[in-house]
């Protein structure tokens, strides 16, 4: 029982505080002091390592003139080497090894930033994140820890966001996408499909019981990024003044991808999250399409959009909650 069910139980039986205390203990609704301490220790360790890593990154970004180039490289490389040495000494899944690999992953990004800053490589910011993601991939595999996998996912998606959002003309992705004479709308499908592939991989690893690398939250993060890019592509298509072939293809592909994810979720019957993401995406796309295509004047338009949002979110809520109830009943029966 969770807190909401406990509240309903307490209200129904009009329990006194003593009985509530007993209820909280029976359903183990409160962690023991030991459990809280273990959690706090892990939280402080993670916060400590991330703070130290942030300190190194901030120092590089400060570009402190009193601190010579050699010194800066020596510092970041020292952190990287020590992290790797610690990871080899106490390899993951031991705590020290996991934190050391996380530190090594972040130090790699700092080292790349320092390289770009020192030698003025002219590389765009997205290239830094992309190179960081590529070089950091072995750390993700070595760590077998969802925190490093999640951090890698954020780094690669920042690279994709910077490239597809600002369209800098240079670097690896430019070399790949510039010969492809497709509109921005169509090209936005690429990061969506890439993230969807990552989600598929994460789901596969989860099913194959490689849980430390890809637990549910990592798979959800990948899917959220995929649906985010897909929604961006579709809304970009529907708000164009000239809705041509490329835009039609984009909308069809996005709807097809979302339908495929929905079918998979309906088949698995164990997580409503993908359906909630798709519902949110469809609400955004349909609202933008309605606003862009209608001839209704301002007052009526605002009223119609408000009403549409209320109606569509109501239907979404009802359908999703009915699935939550049905699937949880199925799960309990199983």
């Amino acid at each position: 029982m969770n807190r909401k069910e406990l509240d309903a139980f307490v209200a129904h039986h009009r329990l006194a505080p003593v009985a509530i205390e007993a209820s909280l203990d029976i359903v183990a609704a409160r962690p023991s002091a030991l459990e809280i301490r273990h959690f706090a220790v892990r939280l402080l360790q993670l916060a400590g390592v991330l703070s130290l890593a942030a300190g190194v990154v901030f120092l590089i970004a400060a570009n402190w003139s009193e601190f010579g180039v050699m010194g800066r490289f020596a510092l970041v490389q020292f952190v990287l080497v020590v992290s790797l040495a610690l990871a080899l000494w106490r390899p993951p899944p031991q705590s020290l090894g996991k934190y050391a690999v996380l530190m090594a992953f972040i130090s790699t990004g700092a080292l790349l930033a320092l390289f770009g800053q020192t030698y003025q490589t002219g590389a765009d910011l997205y290239e830094l994140f992309l190179t960081w993601a590529v070089l950091g991939l072995p750390f993700v595999i070595a760590a077998r820890w969802s925190v490093v996998a999640g951090a890698w996912l954020v780094v690669i998606n920042v690279a994709l966001l910077l490239f597809f959002g600002w369209r800098p003309q240079g670097g690896w992705l430019w070399a790949v996408f510039s010969p492809w004479h497709a509109s921005t709308t169509v090209q936005l499908l690429a990061p969506a499909i890439f993230d969807l592939a990552l989600w598929t991989l994460a789901e596969y690893l989860r099913r194959a019981y490689v849980l430390p690398l890809a637990p549910r939250w990592v798979a959800r993060l990948a899917l959220a990024c995929a649906i985010g890019f897909a929604t961006w592509a579709a809304t970009h298509a529907v708000v164009q003044s000239s809705f041509g072939g490329g835009e039609s293809v984009t909308v069809i592909v996005v709807l097809g991808l979302e339908a495929a994810v929905a079918l998979y979720a309906m088949q698995r019957r164990d997580d409503v999250f993908p359906l909630a993401l798709i519902a949110g995406s469809l609400i955004v796309i349909s609202t933008c399409a309605f606003a862009a295509s209608t001839d209704i004047k301002e007052v009526g338009l605002f009223f119609s959009i408000a009403l549409w949002l209320v109606v569509s979110s109501t239907i979404t809520g009802r359908v999703l909650m009915s699935l939550v109830r049905t699937w949880s009943v199925d799960e309990e029966a199983a």
């Binding site: 029982m1 969770n2 807190r3 909401k4 069910e5 309903a8 139980f9 209200a11 039986h13 329990l15 505080p17 009985a19 509530i20 007993a22 209820s23 909280l24 029976i26 359903v27 183990a28 962690p31 023991s32 002091a33 030991l34 809280i36 301490r37 959690f39 706090a40 220790v41 892990r42 402080l44 360790q45 916060a47 400590g48 390592v49 991330l50 703070s51 130290l52 942030a54 300190g55 901030f58 120092l59 409503v272 909630a276 993401l277 949110g280 605002f302 009223f303 959009i305 408000a306 009403l307 949002l309 209320v310 979110s313 109501t314 979404t316 809520g317 999703l320 909650m321 939550v324 949880s328």
Partner: protein, 333 residues
């Protein structure tokens, strides 16, 4: 985090312990626990619908004074209250009520700004409005949102009252260390205290009518501890294109760093409630505050770097101390 013990087993255990009579009504199945991601979809849609509803009302009735806006706001909030109160289980009316409520709140906020002509007073009036909504709105999501926005409003009230209205780049103005720390403590320590009391005395308020306010208030306060400093810094964290160093030292830059600590404490309180979604929000909030700390102007990156290293060392030392500390077995914190 959901215990596998059902209400039937719990009732049987309470009967055995003498807390419940043997003959009692079984709890009807009213499973309506909405997962956090569905709440986000519905909440976001409701918010957006509220903004469009307000635009519709403003264009239709053209209220051009504080009194007109107040009247529109009160009518919208009254309609929202009525819908919530009349049909509490209808998803459609819940969403419509949320949209009307948001539109009404915007209208009253604009009216407050028009009447007060001061950002601090506007923020204070919005905070007061959110507190009233927390206690009066007969809907859990509306209460959670009210608790969260009350905290954001409170943070802005203290800030604007002390240092005046914020303009673009105003974080380059000088603010001494002591006032910055005192103001942060005035904003956040009462909220931490409220969360602590609510968690510690959970079994007391669960027994009474206060439960309908305390539960959503606790959720809203925990979300506020996790992300509200980031949300209530309207302009500072958006200056990522401005790479100029601070002209003068502004110690308000420490607020996000201090709020990282409150976000981590929110994670611990969320664990005590066994709420995974709130733990995730708190950890994400802590990371967002570090990013905000990087971008905020006020001191040099070198100082920020040194502070982060100190915080890192302190956190690691605290973890070592905590892991070695003996705790009474099985005791509740």
């Amino acid at each position: 985090m959901k215990s596998s013990i059902s209400s039937v087993i719990l009732a049987a255990e309470l009967v055995r312990a003498g807390h419940l009579p043997e003959r009692h009504d079984a709890l009807p199945d009213t499973t309506n626990d909405r997962p956090w991601f569905i709440s986000i979809v519905l909440g976001f849609s409701g918010w957006l619908a509220g903004a469009f509803a307000l635009a519709f009302v403003v264009l239709l009735f053209k209220p051009d004074s504080a009194a007109g806006l107040s009247l529109a706001g009160l009518i919208l909030l009254g309609a929202a209250f009525g819908l919530y109160a009349v049909d509490r289980d209808s998803a459609f009316f819940d969403q419509l009520a949320l949209a009307l409520s948001i539109a009404g709140q915007f209208a009253l906020a604009f009216a407050a700004e028009d009447a007060a002509d001061s950002t601090a007073a506007t923020a204070a009036l919005v905070t007061l409005m959110q507190v009233v909504l927390l206690f009066t709105m007969p809907n859990e999501l509306a209460k959670k949102l009210a608790a969260f926005f009350a905290c954001c409003g409170w943070a802005l009230t203290v800030r604007f009252a002390w240092w005046g209205e914020q303009h673009w780049g105003s974080t380059k103005d000088a603010v001494a260390l002591a006032p910055a720390l005192i103001a942060w403590a005035i904003v956040w320590l009462p909220i931490v205290g409220a969360v602590h009391c609510l968690v510690a005395r959970e079994s007391v308020w669960m027994a009474g009518q206060l439960r309908s306010v305390a539960r959503p208030a606790l959720t809203g306060l925990l979300i506020a501890l996790s992300v509200a400093t980031w949300c209530s810094e309207p302009f500072g964290s958006l200056q990522f294109w401005d790479r100029l160093e601070a002209r003068q030292t502004n110690w308000l830059v420490l607020w996000p760093l201090l709020s990282t600590i409150t976000a981590l404490s929110a994670a611990v309180y969320a664990l005590r409630l066994r709420n995974r979604a709130l733990i995730g929000t708190a950890i994400a909030g802590a990371l967002l505050h570090v990013v905000q700390f990087y971008f905020l102007l006020g001191t040099t990156l070198l100082t920020k770097s040194a502070l982060m290293v100190l915080v890192g060392i302190a956190a690691l030392l605290a973890s070592v101390w905590l892991s070695k500390r003996d705790a009474p077995a099985g005791a509740q914190l």
